[in-house]
């Protein structure tokens, strides 16, 4: 009994300590909760659930982005194109299976068919990430480290252009979409209706994030990634092959964006410029919570989702980009390194 109170007390102390160190954090969370309540009153609980489901996806996207940023100091502009590649991959894997199933119904196969798409997207995203890292960022890194952040940023801009226009060239500008992954009636819950697709997209995001958390915290390689992000020279000194870790990180980040693209295919569809909005969202999150702060990106995903839902509820859908951007600008002015604090070294360079 006594032990319990003591544990509680230390917990309380550490929370207080944290709040003292970063007063913006509880403020941001409090504001989000207030927004959530207002949305709930004005738009009903379904609107809140919407925001939560969307938040899961932005969290997944932003985590990939912030990981690449934290470990490699590469501010990735083609994260949206990774999303696009994932969407296309899922489409091309899922559609033939789907067509086959239309003629030969098979309950088991139709339950697992979407997974083939997700898995393929993850793998293709991973491969794409490693190829690009070796082809573009490795040469730059071995050339010069001067102005690294800015130069690598511009490289990702170039890659983004090549990818989206390359896909346009090869596959054409056509939209490729699916009606839905699982053709079952939506789940009803009070006034809330959620399709299995959306629910699963959220679920998938959470599982991937959980796996990532485990991987980063508990495995040797995951620890090596964190070590590289904290001190590159130190990591080299303990015998970590930094180049491999960079490639791995990049591939993981890209793969996560691709998974998001695959999971949201039913909503976004696949076309060459589909990645633009996801890219905006991911950057909103990352700038909001602080560059390279992986765990905070998850929280940030939900904050941004609530902000967007509130914008659409109260301002109208055409203000969807303006209001969140202005909020981000204010955040940047007030807290340049994000509300949770940046964890990136070297980003302060000129």
């Amino acid at each position: 009994m006594k032990e319990n109170t003591e544990v509680l007390k230390t917990l309380g102390d550490s929370i207080l300590e944290y709040i003292k160190r970063k007063p913006a954090v509880p403020g941001a969370i409090a504001v989000t909760v207030v927004i959530a309540i207002i949305i709930g009153i004005a738009g009903g609980p379904a609107q809140v659930v919407n925001a939560i489901v969307a938040g899961g996806m932005w969290a997944l996207l932003a985590t990939g982005l912030t990981m690449i940023l934290g470990v490699m100091n590469v501010p990735n502009f083609f994260h949206g194109e990774s999303f696009m590649v994932g969407a296309y991959t899922a489409y091309f894997i899922f559609t033939p299976i789907h067509l086959y199933l239309m003629d030969n119904p098979n309950k088991f196969l139709s339950t697992i068919a979407p997974f083939a798409g997700f898995f393929a997207a993850a793998v293709i995203g991973f491969i794409l990430g490693s190829i690009l890292e070796k082809l573009v960022f490795y040469p730059l890194r071995s050339k010069t480290k001067e102005r690294w952040v800015m130069n690598s940023f511009l490289l990702t801009v170039g890659v983004s252009y090549i990818l989206s226009n390359g896909v346009n060239l090869v596959l054409g500008p056509n939209f490729r979409g699916i009606p839905r992954y699982w053709d079952v009636p939506p789940i009803k819950f009070f006034t809330i209706r959620l399709t299995v697709d959306r629910l699963f997209a959220f679920f998938l995001a959470m599982v991937v994030l959980l796996l990532l958390w485990y991987f980063m915290g508990k495995t040797r390689t995951g620890r090596a990634i964190r070590a590289v992000s904290q001190d590159e020279a130190g990591a080299a000194m303990v015998g970590i092959n930094i180049n491999n870790i960079h490639t791995l990180t990049f591939s993981l980040g890209t793969s996560m964006a691709a998974i998001a693209g695959a999971a949201l295919l039913f909503m976004f569809q696949a076309y060459p410029t589909v990645g633009l909005r996801p890219l905006y969202y991911a950057w909103y999150v990352v700038m909001l919570v602080g560059l390279g702060n992986v765990s905070a990106a998850v929280v940030g995903g939900f904050i941004v989702a609530f902000l967007q839902t509130a914008t659409q509820q109260f301002f109208g859908i055409e203000w969807g980009e303006v209001v969140p951007t202005v909020v981000m600008m204010i955040v940047l002015i007030v807290a340049p390194s994000g509300i949770f604090g940046s964890e990136v070294k070297g980003i302060q360079e000129q």
């Binding site: 800015m150 002015i333 340049p336």
Partner: protein
Amino acid sequence: MIKSTGKASTIARTLMSRTGFSSSGIILIAILAVLPFIPPFNSEYILRWLVVGAFMAAQAVAFDLTAGFINVVNFGFAAILGVGAYTSAILANTGPHIIVQPGISPWIGIFIGAFASAFLGFILGFLTLRLRGLYAAIMAWFVGIALLGLARTLTPLTRGSLGMSPPSFFDTPSNMPYYYLALGMMITIYIVTKLVTTSHIGLAFKALGQNFDAARASGINPTFYRVFNFTLSCFFAGLLGGFYAHYFVSMTPKAIMHTSKSVETLAIAFIGGRGFLWGGIVVAFPFVFLLEYLRSALPQLPGIHIIIYGVLMILVMIYYPNGVAGFITELKKKLWRLRKPEKT
């Protein structure tokens, strides 16, 4: 007599060097000035490419003032250019589809537009004041997205994505007057930029760009220089925006204010060589020609020119961060070294 010509040439040379023109620069300008009379450049469609070339070159110079000197990549450049374009276009409007019909001449509107852009640049300078490198770039990007969103949303003024058709500068289908207008703007912007950057202000820019803290410690007031830089660069952007509005006479927020437009300018400025100013000019013309040629020669490969943009940009960034201008400068130095022994 000999003495006085010597003096005159010295004065000419100082003037040239002050305004940043070497003899090859003068030759280049002269060639550009007579180009519209030489076949095949005298046909209307090639003239059109030349106009676009001069327009892009001028943009690259204005962009380089921020990117190459104080080292902040202005991702909202196109959006600010768009503000100039929209201001001038709205002021010139006489049609019923926009709620105001001031009907002001484009020749006046273009300057009001430029001042509107300059004002935004002024604000952007303050917004990014405390931010370094990447943060400043992203702030500018967000400002750009917000401006684009506003231009889309304020449909009573801008007609949003429905597009606007502002009046043109000249009442002729010929591109000739536009070419000389664009060329004049390009040269003016270059001279002003060069004068500023070769003065002590330019030194302060460079110092701030290389090491913000050290520059501040040595007594350079970052507020003034940064805000001044942004204001000037955005003023030029607004001016060019006005040109866009009354030359292309059709605009939508997406077609001028999108981030991809900033990136196009960036690509030209950086392939040209950042911090050189003239690099963008040297690159812009062949670039526009290459891209337009590809677009018309390979219509079955849409967007191939943008892919080439991307690949060139990546190659230059990795293997030759000083761009074409840096390459030419180094080549010149080498030639100089080769020539020297002959002289002595």
